[in-house]
Symmetry: C2
Amino acid sequence: MREPTVVAEPGLPEAVTIWEVGPRDGLQNESAIVPVEAKAEFVERLVAAGLPVVEATSFVHPKWVPQLADAAELVQRLGPDGRRHPVLVPNERGLQRAIDLGCEHVAIFGSATDTFAQRNLNSSVEEQFAMFEPTVTRARSEGMDVRAYVSMCFGDPWEGDVPVEQVVAVGTRLLDLGASQLSLGDTIGVGTAGHVTALLDAFNAAGVPDDVLAVHFHDTYGQALANAGAALRHGVRTFDSSAGGLGGCPYAESATGNLATEDLVWMLHGLGVGTGVDLEALVATSVWMAEVLGRPSPSRVVAALAG
Amino acid sequence: MREPTVVAEPGLPEAVTIWEVGPRDGLQNESAIVPVEAKAEFVERLVAAGLPVVEATSFVHPKWVPQLADAAELVQRLGPDGRRHPVLVPNERGLQRAIDLGCEHVAIFGSATDTFAQRNLNSSVEEQFAMFEPTVTRARSEGMDVRAYVSMCFGDPWEGDVPVEQVVAVGTRLLDLGASQLSLGDTIGVGTAGHVTALLDAFNAAGVPDDVLAVHFHDTYGQALANAGAALRHGVRTFDSSAGGLGGCPYAESATGNLATEDLVWMLHGLGVGTGVDLEALVATSVWMAEVLGRPSPSRVVAALAG
């Protein structure tokens, strides 16, 4: 299978971490329920393809995301290794389910804007901290690692522009609660590269270094990979992406697919930046999942290499 | 309609030139013949949307590209302004047709690799210069401006890696013949950002400055916009793209769509780089052309804004 020509770019790291979100963020939008056996196979194949972190599922209430009603069953099916995979927990009740299963890593899902906080969390930006505080405190007391997503960092479908200061204020509060990493999400995919650099600069100025930050781009306006490049050059070393470009956000209009892991891997390997990913195995996994879902993968690399 | 949040990036220019190739490179692959009236409307709407250069058609033999058999009729339909639009000429015979119509700008289509030169030009890389020499000389003597495309600059479907030295050798020969601008094409879309920088560095080292260079990216592996960003930061000021992401290459397997003009405009405007393009008018044009062609535009921005 074709591999990218490697032309290393000065100043880039030898390797970065891809935080694979396909099984959670990718599948949560699917209206047809994917069997738990297929989800377990998806996670296992992604691990076998070399993805170092695979976010497996979310302990959200099944009423909100029926697709992930099998979260506990999935973690159990994954066996002892299943506990290593991060899982999303919306609140203390979700956290308790994760604790009962022995999960070691959890993630919470905050919002940089009031409108999205209202729609997704039924709270204001300010109120979300009170909601997350006991969850993060409990998780930390159980020895769990906590990642905090910050959504709508580059724009909001209802509020339009989102000032970087507002995002930094939310992010630092979540770190103060005890999160060890922030994933800065462009939930509706509107951001461009200079905006990425400006937001990272603002976090740095507030005392938050790039190694505490991850970026999570959606390709709604075609900007995801260019923005990942800007974050990479700035110093970010953790990149969220979704195998085959699956996913979106059920609560935000016009939020389409996540950055495809294959397209990200193609760029990184071309730049001489290691990921540990076996691209051929990953493409085969996405081709298989596309068959499970009954439609072609939106990843350009998958389309090019699977043809 | 939503516009990108502008966050200017230091060191970038106030404005760049988009060289719109939709009517030529975009449509040449279409198997169903598009009526000449629709092509003329396409060009006129692109001009009205603010695109400063619209490559209109190609005077290639209709046997090879039946879609463009109406080249002369299209130029005539466009009236006096039609002569300003660049047209592709494969050889002296094509050039004569362009001269007869009063065209002021022509483009030739060279290859960086032997295999593609054989398939596309029925010549070797070396033989192509002898073929182009009388065409360029005649065009220049008629006062025409000549652009030279160089295809397969970042990889070749048959030869694999293409060394930057080989591309520079071909490009400088085409400039020596009398071309005023090179358009460096990633015909199969495999290149990554560090490769773009390395190729531009190699041209500079050979005495060819960025202002003589344009870049022409295809999105086959999802890299087109990230690569355009690398070229922009390096100093390139002319970017080829295709409205709605139409197009590909009929002679190269796995060559899919051009970089979508809308996705490029979104990035540039977000970075504070002017293009003169009215994004709303451009998106409306691509939506209309998608209806003419009977299938949705592959541009992410068109999909997001037309929904």
